[in-house]
């Protein structure tokens, strides 16, 4: 790449990035300034931690963080396992009814869990799981999205690698674990990031199936600020948002590095 191209490239990326990150920057701005500066971008505005203090004190966030962490880890782990198995089945095994079953899975992509809340609540209650972390997780552990995505990736794995492993005496599960999963690493990262941020931020279903501080995720705490009846208080909402999203932001910064080392430099020859 010539120097000129490079400059153009970076400038383009920087401009687009700036546009995209503007809301986040705004959140940071408001969170660290008194609310009077919500609409005034004066560089001399006084800094304050007050918004964070207020946000932290509004709900038992420490406990909520723990809940969310356990919940998100659990869901993501379960999703990885279930979706990987199913995706593998769909991608590399021919069996009768496969297309229909896959259509059923795709259907799960379409059906909005938010609309099925009443029915799902009844199911969860029938299992006596109301107000547990499992209740929040169960409807999501088999994700059509994940199955679809991972299947898509598995289908791009060269058949010869599968063949080679089979010749070496690896059974289907071993092939899955030793060949497909490692090769799909970028996809797992992508899916993991997306899934974690989705469940980290999921609100309505957790609110409805949980009742106690010991099971509720951070979003419930966050929602205390998201009420509009008395007017939006951007500085506190944004402080709370940053506070609850900080672990995600950090995790993203860490994991995106994994994308960098394209460990399949030459792909598969």
């Amino acid at each position: 790449m010539s120097r000129f191209d490079r400059t153009l490239w970076i400038t383009g990326a920087a401009l687009l990035a700036l546009l995209w990150v503007a809301p986040f920057l705004y959140a940071v701005w408001t969170a660290i300034h008194p609310s009077a500066y919500e609409a005034h971008f004066t560089l001399t505005a006084p800094l304050t931690w007050q918004n964070f203090v207020k946000a932290w004190n509004a709900a038992p966030f420490a406990r909520y963080f723990l809940n969310t962490f356990v919940l998100v880890t659990g869901i993501t782990a379960a999703q990885f396992v279930l979706c990987t198995l199913a995706a593998y089945g769909f991608a590399r095994f021919a069996f009768p009814g496969r297309d229909i079953l896959f259509a059923l899975v795709l259907l799960q992509l379409l059906v909005m869990p938010d609309i099925l809340i009443v029915e799902n609540y009844q199911t969860i209650r029938a299992f006596h799981l109301v107000d547990t972390l499992a209740a929040i997780a169960l409807p999501y552990v088999a994700s059509g999205f994940g199955i679809f995505l991972i299947r898509q990736t598995f289908m791009t794995v060269p058949r010869e690698l599968d063949d080679a492993a089979r010749i070496e005496g690896a059974g289907p599960l071993k092939i899955l674990w030793r060949v497909y999963v490692p090769l799909a690493k970028p996809t797992y990262l992508a899916y993991g990031l997306v899934s974690v941020s989705y469940h980290w931020n999921n609100f309505l279903w957790p609110l409805i199936v949980t009742n106690s501080v010991t099971t509720r995720p951070v979003t419930v705490g966050l929602s205390v600020f998201a009420t509009t009846d008395s007017g939006v208080e951007w500085s506190v909402i944004n402080a709370a948002t940053l506070m609850t999203s900080a672990p995600l932001l950090v995790a993203f910064l860490l994991f995106q590095r994994q994308f960098v080392q394209s460990f399949m430099r030459a792909g598969i020859k």
Partner: protein, 291 residues
């Protein structure tokens, strides 16, 4: 026998996921379909079978038609833009340079931040007079706007938020896919004198097709099911100008508690999405090149 073995493996692998999916998606979905054939129970008046009455009502419901139209406009307006932007972003942050991590982060933040919070930030951006957009426009001497408060601009304003939210989300998948393209292929194309543009259209883009299929199906679905920001930005207003199908379903089911009619709308939405997404899938999956 080998074939049978394959069947068994296939079934066994899919079974665990299938159980959950059936339990938490199909079973309630089927109940929804059934419910759409009955009336909404109202305390004193228990539910009774009404056949297709709810569907008839739907055909005569002008709000339904309006939100449907809105939704089509919304989908057509947001999907191509966000998918195209996602590809651009992925390509922008795929090669190494200083600050790449930050750019990735920037594109991905919309996915990380909870929509309720983010919608409030956009609300501020859109505020007439002292909102960010008006402040910026003010610098150029352009007067006030009321983007969310005007029926002509409310939907486009909501669409912008949606593109912003979706593009970075899709970027992640394109980024993963880009990493899997063997570099020799682009090398070979470069040798053949292909410029960046040609390489993109003739090599990279076709090889990204599986991802594009995935992303576009998701985009279609999301266009019909992501409505959280509407609650905060416009509440579907003014006069339903920015209301979408799911938002309407939500109102019907969880505000009016007219569950039967809500179920009917849901069934229509599902049928529509099935048609779009599954059709899209089975039409293109065969044509998409996977290797």
């Amino acid at each position: 026998m080998e074939r049978k073995r394959e069947w068994i493996w296939g079934w066994l692998l899919i079974l665990p996921a299938l159980v959950f999916i059936l339990l938490f998606t199909h079973y309630p979905a089927v109940r929804t379909v059934i419910e759409s054939l009955w009336s909404t129970p109202r305390g004193t008046r228990p539910t009774h079978f009404v056949g297709l009455h709810n569907y008839e009502r739907l055909l005569n419901d002008p709000t339904f038609w309006q939100v449907l139209t809105n939704n089509v406009v919304y989908a057509l307006g947001t999907i191509p833009v966000s998918v195209a932007l996602a590809i651009v972003m992925a390509i922008l942050v795929n090669r190494p340079y200083k600050g790449r991590a930050l750019a990735r982060m920037a594109f991905f933040t919309p996915t990380i931040l909870p929509l309720i919070a983010v919608a409030n930030i956009w609300l501020f951006f859109y505020l007439p007079g002292f909102g960010l957009i008006d402040q910026v426009l003010g610098l150029f001497g352009i007067g006030q706007t009321n983007l969310l408060g005007d029926p002509g601009t409310a939907l486009p304003a909501v669409m912008v938020v949606s593109v912003w939210k979706e593009a970075g989300f899709f970027m992640i998948f394109y980024l993963a896919a880009l990493q899997a393209i063997p570099p020799q292929l682009t090398e070979a194309a470069r040798i053949e004198g292909a410029g960046r543009w040609t390489i993109f259209w003739r090599i990279t883009f076709p090889l990204l097709m599986p991802t594009t299929l995935f992303v576009s199906i998701n985009a279609v679905i999301n266009a019909f099911r992501l409505v959280d920001h509407i609650f905060i930005l416009t509440g579907g207003g003014p006069d339903n100008a920015s209301s979408l199908l799911l938002f309407y379903i939500y109102e019907t089911s969880f505000r009016y508690w007219d569950t039967a009619y809500g179920a009917t709308l849901t069934v229509v939405l599902l049928a529509l999405l099935c048609l779009l997404a599954i059709g899209q899938f089975f039409l293109f999956d065969r044509k998409v090149h996977y290797k």
